[in-house]
Each structure stands twice: as C-alpha cells, then as structure tokens.
C-alpha cells in the first residue's frame, strides 16, 4: 500500500453527499486493491513511484483562465483544480440540453455514475470516492446540439484534484463534447468521464490531455454504445511527468459504430500511457481505432489496445492500428495491440509498427525542391497530422495544428 493511497482512503471517509452509497461500494473495492507494481499487468510499463508518496494540497483557491480556442464557439465549463468556476445557472444553452453540477442529485447522474466505467481502474475508484465536483450533461431524445460543449480542467501548482464528467446522449440525439485538460506545474489531477450513447444517438468526442512538464494526470473516458449509435472520438495527449489514460468503449447494442483516433506527442523525458479496451458484446458492431505517436528523446510511451469480441458478437468489424515514430535512440515505446475473438464470423485486423520514413514520399518531396531537413519535418509531423485532418471539428483541428506543430519542432531540436 502506498502512503498516498492510504491517505485517499482516509479522506474518502469525510466525503458525504447524495452519492455516498455508491462511493461506499467503490471504497470497499479500493480497499481490496493492491498498489500496482511491475508485475501488475495494467501498470507493467508505467511506474507509479512518483505518486506513491505524493503529498499535495487537496484544496485550492487558485483562479485560472481556460485556454481559448479561436473559432470553436463552445459552451465552456471550467474547473480549476477540480472546482467548477463557471456559473452554470446563467449559461445560454441550446435547446434539448441540460447541464447540472454533480452535487445536485439527478436521474442522469444516478444512471451514469460508476455504471459505465469498469470498476477495475484503480484511479477510477479513487475518483469515485473523492470527486465531489463534476458536471452532468443530459441531451434530450432527438436533440441535435451543434454547439460543442467543452469541459476544461486546469491544474495549478501543488494541488491534487479530482473531477468527474457524466454525459447522457438521448435516443437519436447528437452532441459534441470536448474534454480539455491543461497544467504544467507539479500537480495530480484525475478526470474520469462516463458516456451513455442511446439508440441511434451520435457523439463527437475529443479528449485533449495537454498536461505537460511537471503535471501528473490520470484519467479515463468510458463509453457505452447502444443500438445503431455512433461515436467519433479523438484523443490528443502529451506526456507530462506521468499521463495515464484508460478508454473503454462498450458495444452494448447492435450496429453501433466507433471510430477512435489517438495522437500522442511526447517531449523529452515525458511519459504517456494509453490503455484502450473495446468490448464487442453484441453483433454487427464496427470499431476503427488508430493510434499514432511521436516520441522524443528519453520519453516513454505505452500503448495497450485491446479488442474483445464476445462469443455472441458475430459480424463484428474491428480494426486496430498503432504506429510510432521514435525521434532518437533514447525514445521508447511499449506497444501491445490485442485481439481476443470468441465469435467465428468477424473481420478483424490489428497491428503495431515502429515507423520509418517513407523513402518514396521523401524522394517526391525532394524532387519538388524541398530541403531534406524540412521534408523530414513535414513527413514526420504528417504522420500524426493525418489523424488531425480526420477530426470532424475543423475549428478545433485548426487550433491544434500549429500548437502540435510547434511542440513537434521543439522535439526535433531537442533530440
């Protein structure tokens, strides 16, 4: 047991709100948990020694601004060190959408909290017992909400914080949710989000885990897809001192479609770990998952992508691909795409590569007079930019592109 976790369990006893009965279950689970070590499969390549004895302040008075995204025109819900700083009572909301704080009891919150996210995620349980603040978004049946909703988590120096997001997209409804996290000073921030996507509903989702440098960020996005629902999700991550994300997508209905793109861009010495699990529990589902990473000097990335096709899930189409580009000999990737198939009539493919430069593309660029160094920058960045081009929200993509490009150019200089 780590000091930090012992302290979490202690603090959990003081949390008293309408979610207490659910939190009690989570606490019981948490008490059973072993502190992960090298032999814990889910944490094999990510050491938690930086968290084990962490003792940060758990309350904050910090005031901070959310990063602005030009042209996005989103409804912003801003959390600073886990505290909601947006006055949600006075938001101008499009028709068909309700936004409430987690501390207000609601049907939606009750239906979602700890019901979508699998219980085995250690930090998910921590978030279950400690996240007192959060947001609950309820999109009514049939509502077509075009305006994106952005949930921003800002972490400031010396603070530990926990935030929760719960989203229900009603039957045939459509919504866009952006989870946007930032912070670069010493901090620990956990953010877990649960999404229920009803029959024929469609969710466009982004998770920008842009914590960097000294920050520690652990979180997850967990989705349940019902009949004929659609999920288009893009995750963009930096490394930070430690960034660990768990994504679960459960095909709980038939004919659901999930597209999940991941981009990670690790500056020197950063650590990024993404575990994704796709559960095909029902027939006729489709999953397309593409993860691309560029890893800087002495940085370490971990990708574990699992697709689990249950016996009953015939006619599943599933593809999982992970490609990595190492910028120096000191960069490291541990990648493990896994397919577990128990149905016999499915089409699946998976693969992982450590990429090399496409010589033909390089030659083509040189014949157009582009200098070799510049051509390599364009090609290498193009490797992740390809997934940026696929983002349905062009304003967000246009905002991210130069930011990621600059980060990449710095990574090239530092190798």
């Amino acid at each position: 047991m780590s000091q930090w976790l012992a302290h979490v369990i202690e603090r959990a006893a003081n949390v008293d709100d309408w979610l207490s009965p659910v939190r009690a279950n989570a606490l019981a689970e948490l008490k059973q948990k072993q502190w992960p070590g090298r032999r814990t499969e889910a944490w094999r390549y990510t050491s938690l020694h930086k968290v084990a004895d962490l003792a940060l302040k758990t309350s904050s008075q910090a005031v901070a601004e959310a990063p602005q995204v030009n042209g996005l025109n989103s409804i912003d819900l801003v959390f600073v060190d886990g505290r909601l700083s947006t006055d949600i009572a006075h938001l101008q909301l499009p028709e068909g959408i309700r936004i409430a704080a987690l501390d207000a009891k609601s049907d939606a919150a009750e239906a979602l909290f700890a019901n979508i996210k699998p219980a085995h995620h250690l930090f998910g349980l921590v978030n279950d017992v400690l996240a007192q603040q959060g947001i609950v978004i309820d999109v009514a049946e049939g509502a077509q909400v075009e305006q994106p909703i952005r949930i921003v988590n800002v972490s400031t120096n010396g603070i530990e914080s926990h935030q929760r997001t719960l989203v229900r997209v009603g039957q045939g409804a459509k919504a866009t949710i952006i989870e946007h996290g930032v912070g670069n000073e010493q901090s620990l921030n956990t953010v877990f989000a649960e999404y229920d996507i009803a029959d024929r509903a469609s969710l466009e989702h982004y998770r920008l885990a842009l914590q960097e440098d000294q920050a520690i960020h652990v979180g997850g996005s967990h989705f349940r897809l019902h009949n004929e629902s659609k999920l288009n999700s893009t995750l963009v991550g930096y490394g930070s001192q430690l960034t660990r994300l768990d994504v679960d997508i459960e095909h709980a209905g038939e004919h659901a479609f999930a597209k999940f793109n991941n981009i990670y861009l690790l500056a020197p010495h950063e650590h990024f770990d993404l575990h994704s699990t796709i559960e095909h529990a029902q027939p006729n589902g489709t999953t397309e998952e593409n993860a691309r990473g560029i890893i800087g000097d002495k940085a370490k990335a971990v990708f574990n992508g699992r697709i689990h096709i249950h016996r009953h899930a015939q006619k599943t189409l599933a593809e999982l691909n992970n490609r990595n580009l190492l910028l120096s000999r000191g960069a490291q990737i541990n990648t493990k795409p896994e397919l577990e198939i128990y149905a016999d009539d499915v089409q699946c493919a998976h693969g992982a590569t450590v990429a090399e430069i496409d010589e033909e593309a390089l030659y083509y660029m040189l014949t157009r007079g582009i200098d070799k160094q510049q051509a390599l920058v364009m090609l290498n960045f193009g490797f992740v930019q390809e997934l940026l081009f696929q983002m349905p929200n062009k304003a967000l993509a246009d905002w991210l592109q130069p930011i990621l490009r600059q980060r990449f150019e710095r990574m090239m200089e530092q190798k």
Binding site: D358, E359, E360, A361, Y363, Y364, M365, L366, T367, R368, G369, I370, D371, K372, Q374, A375, M378, L379, F381, G382, F383, V384, Q385, E386, F389
Partner: protein, 250 residues
Amino acid sequence: MLSIKDLHARVEDTTILKGLNLDIKPGEVHAIMGPNGAGKSTLGYVLSGREGYDVESGSADFDGKDLFDMEVEERAQAGLFLAFQYPVEIPGVSNMEFMKESVNAMREARGEAALSSAEFLKKAKEACKQVELPLDFLKRGVNEGFSGGEKKRNEIMQMIMLEPKLAILDESDSGLDVDALQVVAKGVNSQRDGKRSFIVVTHYQRLLDYIEPDYVHILSKGKIVKSGGPELAKEVEASGYAWLKEGESA
C-alpha cells in the same frame, strides 16, 4: 539546356541505360518513345537523382552545371521538374503546405522573396483552374484518394506553379481518358513559352497529337536508336515497336 553524353546507368545490379545521348535546347519539346522496359522511366529517375539509380558513366550538363553532382532537391531548385508516372500519396501533408513549401524553396533558390499566403493562394487558384482541379484539393493530403487522372493533373498543376526550365513528363498520358488527356496537354502547352524545354516520355503516339514535339526519339534497350521529327511518332503508331527486334537480328 540539357546535354546528356554517353550515359550508362543501373538500377541495383542491372544496367538499364547503355550509352544514351540527348541534346535539348531551350524551348524544345522532345518526345521519347519506346517499348516497355526500354528504360524510359529510368531516364527520368536518373536525371532527377533518385536513390538506387546509379550513374555508371557519362555526363549530363544542365544549364552549364554538372547535373550528376547535385542533390535531388538542388536539381529541382535549378529548374528540373519530373512529373511522375505514379505520383506519391502523402496523406498527412496537405497539398497546400506541400506546394507552398515547394514554391518558396524554388523562389529562394532563384533569389526571389517568398510568396505571402494571399499571393500563393492566388497563384494556386489559377493553376488549379488551368488543370480543372477544384480548389478544395489544396486542403486534402498530397494525392490522397485522388483518381489516376486527378493525380496526373495535379502533377501538371505543380509544374505550372513551379515554373521549371526543363520538365520531364513521365507517361503523363497513361491511364487517362481523352478528356483528361486534353486537360493535361492544354496545361503543358500553356507552359510552352519558347524558353522552357520538355521531355515527353510516352509509350503511345496519342499524347503527341496534343503536345506537338519538335523531335521524337525511339529508346530501345537503353539507347536512342532512332531520332526524327513528329512523323516518326506516326510511324510508330502505324507499325508498333516490332521493327526494333528485326533491326536487332539484322
């Protein structure tokens, strides 16, 4: 403009060009025809400096400079352009950034100032219009998901943007229907200004109905075996390349 003397070149262990001579003056259009395997594409690759295409002997003087002494990008910057038979797809790089980078690299090499975004866009719009490509092509990945015809037109678009001294068109007609062929030819003809030179590499005479060459050369087994005027292409059209074999046995 370009003077090739006794060029021998190989791909891996196989010598493909075996003593090729070619002299091109400013403003001239030379067609190079020949059967499959004659070394037509190899010539373009060797001249552009592709890795793996090694010069064994011979020389190429390009505008007073030793072409084989230059890097691939230096040759391009000096004004050599190769329109690919199979243009390469680069999904993560947009046509826009690709072309902007390329145009400005050429301008820098010529000692000209880089184009502003507005100037670049204006030029790109005009070039797109000339080869009948919709403007939104610029936003897409380089050649990504383009049809064969679109790729070929994109090559010509690039040539128009880059204003080379010498353009080598490697089978720019292959896989095109008549309409697309005319668009490509029109784009090429618009760039004939009396100074710019062209090497039009083709298997068939068809393209030469639209781009009229000054000279036609027949390439066979790595050598130019016959040269003449446009009428030579018509002969090939009528009799094919079978006579090459007869000549050999005779």
